[in-house]
Amino acid sequence: MAKKFLYLNRKAPYGTVYALESLEVVLIAAAFEQEVSLAFLDDGVYQIAKGQNPKAAGMKNFSPTYNALGDYGITQLYVERESLVERGLTEEDLMPIVYEDENDEYAEKPSVQVISRAEMSQIMAEQDVTLSF
């Protein structure tokens, strides 16, 4: 039976390598046919912020990869509302990441779900494996 894996992203996309290497784990994990979801909280919400351009800092912009997650069967990206609010962000500041629903004539549907801290704790409680980055 498939297990529920949650990848918990808490850190900004640049400045440390956690976000990039977390995404590398997620892409490998997708091949194992488990139930995979991602959560973004604290500074981790910046990982899926729109309009990233870290070129001047000599870093590679890896944020387009999040758009490919749907093709890997990863369609649940939870974002904590309180983390957005604390940083002066709204859902409008996030990349419009979508997936094609194969059970609904491949209609494009949003992968990002903004949820409350209380709902986030509920989702964490439902997991079999939580990997925190």
Binding site: K3, V25, I28, T130, L131
Partner: protein, 130 residues
């Protein structure tokens, strides 16, 4: 209970490797099983045999190697993270055309799939990080 352990920080800069080591010792002492210890991010640096800490300090890499030998632990270093940070076994060094390797006894280099397999096969997966 069967555990998989993930170590995400290098030795000395952070305490996560120390804490993981102590957890593994305690779990084994209670009769639990350690399915695998997976080293990721800077955690791969726990597997270098070239660290020479001061004599009055603990020797983390050596403690991992000794614990692995005593209990048959599977210590896995992520290859992608290791390549970035210059952690090599003999065959990888040869493949990359490098003149030396530095992996310590008891560690092996493999892919991220080993972490996911650990999560699937174990009752609990515990992350020791920053």
């Amino acid at each position: 209970m069967k555990y998989t352990i993930m170590v995400n920080e290098g030795p000395y800069q952070h305490q996560s490797s120390d804490t993981a080591l102590q957890f593994v010792r305690a779990a084994l002492a209670k009769g639990h099983t350690i399915f695998r210890v997976f080293f990721y991010h800077d955690g791969v640096n726990n597997g270098t045999r070239l660290a020479v800490p001061p004599k009055d300090d603990r020797m983390l890499q050596k403690e991992w190697s000794e614990l692995a030998e005593k209990h048959g632990l599977d210590l896995v270093i992520c290859i992608a993270a290791a390549q970035r940070r210059g952690l090599m076994d003999a065959s990888e060094a040869k493949r990359q055309g490098l003149s030396a390797d530095n992996i310590a006894a008891g560690f092996r280099i493999s892919g991220l799939g080993q972490l996911i397999e650990g999560g699937i096969e174990s009752d609990r997966t515990i992350v020791f990080g920053d």
